[in-house]
Amino acid sequence: MHEYPITEQIIKIAEKHCREAGAKKVTKVKLVIGDYSGYVGDSVHMYFDLIGEGTLCEGADVEIRHVKPKLKCSQCGELFEKKLMSFACPKCGADGGPTDIGKEFYIESIEVE
């Protein structure tokens, strides 16, 4: 739902780095999006083409690397993906707590020419 303003921000950041590099246009934007960040990759794709028109990012490819959220077991330290309606560690059964894995939301790199 809020991918529109977020995509504007992505384009703004990519344009800034393109200008700083003295390049003419952005050809690719590589994003890293954790599934817990709440952002939907498909929506970013859609808005990117729309908002990108007339900017240095016009026609650029958007490549998204998704990251699955992981919990960390409070007992044995195992990193694991949460099952529905449970925080239990698959190895020892204790409850796992949240980590930063899966909350990523950044531009990793861009390609310019």
Partner: protein, 254 residues
């Protein structure tokens, strides 16, 4: 042939929002005002919670920013009680963000130390993703929503600094499984205080107000120790910042 080059960016897309949020937080800290970001689903009793808390605030002036997609019903309601209340309508947007709060805060006067309550859009998802400069994230959950909410909306429960479980007067009529609810809360947020309240009877809110005043009090102590530092930066900064936000420089990515 065009020369294609790869540039490492490693820049968080929300860095600008976070930067402005930090600025808002510092601005209000300097005025001795604690910022509370109140979030919860529609109908959990966010405005009712505020009204109940206000009855027990001593020595701290309540300020309110009401976030709604449309309408200013809650604002009129609170203004009628003499509360310094300001409305933000997002017309469709699902959450408040830091630039909106920064803009609004610029138009408000913080003449007394107090607590600024920012009632976020009724939504258990998006508001958890955007920091708006809060010192305290206050989550309102209810026994009527069901005990599975921490499992279904983990981020909101993970980010909360205080959780209020409302409508506990209805427990006899419901199948609310408190043990299951608390197990989920504790997995996500080991030490968060959970207060059981009833907006209908008013029970439990005195303790909530005490907790908030204690937090606001800690802010003062901290600010006093930074007095000299603050004077050097002068107050001009605090009042002269809403006009341009040229945060275009690269921020360190966490």
């Amino acid at each position: 042939m065009h020369d294609v080059r790869k540039i490492d960016v490693m820049e968080g897309i929300l860095d600008e929002n976070d930067h402005i949020a930090q600025h808002v937080k510092e601005h209000l800290s300097a005025h001795g005002v604690l910022i509370v970001n109140e979030m919860g689903a529609p109908g959990v009793g966010k405005t009712t919670t505020l009204k109940n808390i206000f009855k027990h605030l001593n020595g701290y002036k309540p300020y309110v920013i009401e976030g709604d997609i449309e309408s200013d019903l809650d604002t009129q309601d609170l203004k009628g009680m003499g509360i310094d209340t300001h409305q933000i309508n997002t017309y469709g947007a699902c959450h408040l963000d830091a630039p909106m709060i920064d803009h609004m805060v610029d138009h408000m006067e913080f003449d007394e130390k107090g607590i600024l309550f920012i009632e976020n859009i009724g939504n258990l998802v998006c508001p958890a993703e955007f920091t708006i400069g809060e010192h305290v994230m206050m989550l309102i959950s209810t026994v009527t929503e069901g005990s599975d909410k921490p499992y279904k909306y983990p981020l909101a429960f993970e980010k909360a600094d205080i959780i209020i479980l409302n409508k506990v007067d209805l427990i006899p009529y419901l199948d609310f499984d408190e043990e299951f609810f608390m197990k989920g809360v504790r997995a996500l947020n080991k030490d968060v205080p959970v207060f059981k309240v009833s907006g209908k009877t008013g029970e439990g809110f005195e303790e909530v107000a005490q907790w908030l005043m204690e937090r606001a009090g800690r802010l003062e102590v901290k600010e006093h120790s930074h007095e000299h530092h603050h004077e050097h930066h002068s107050h001009e900064h605090a009042h002269d910042h809403g006009h341009s936000h040229d945060h275009g420089h690269t921020h360190e990515h966490k």
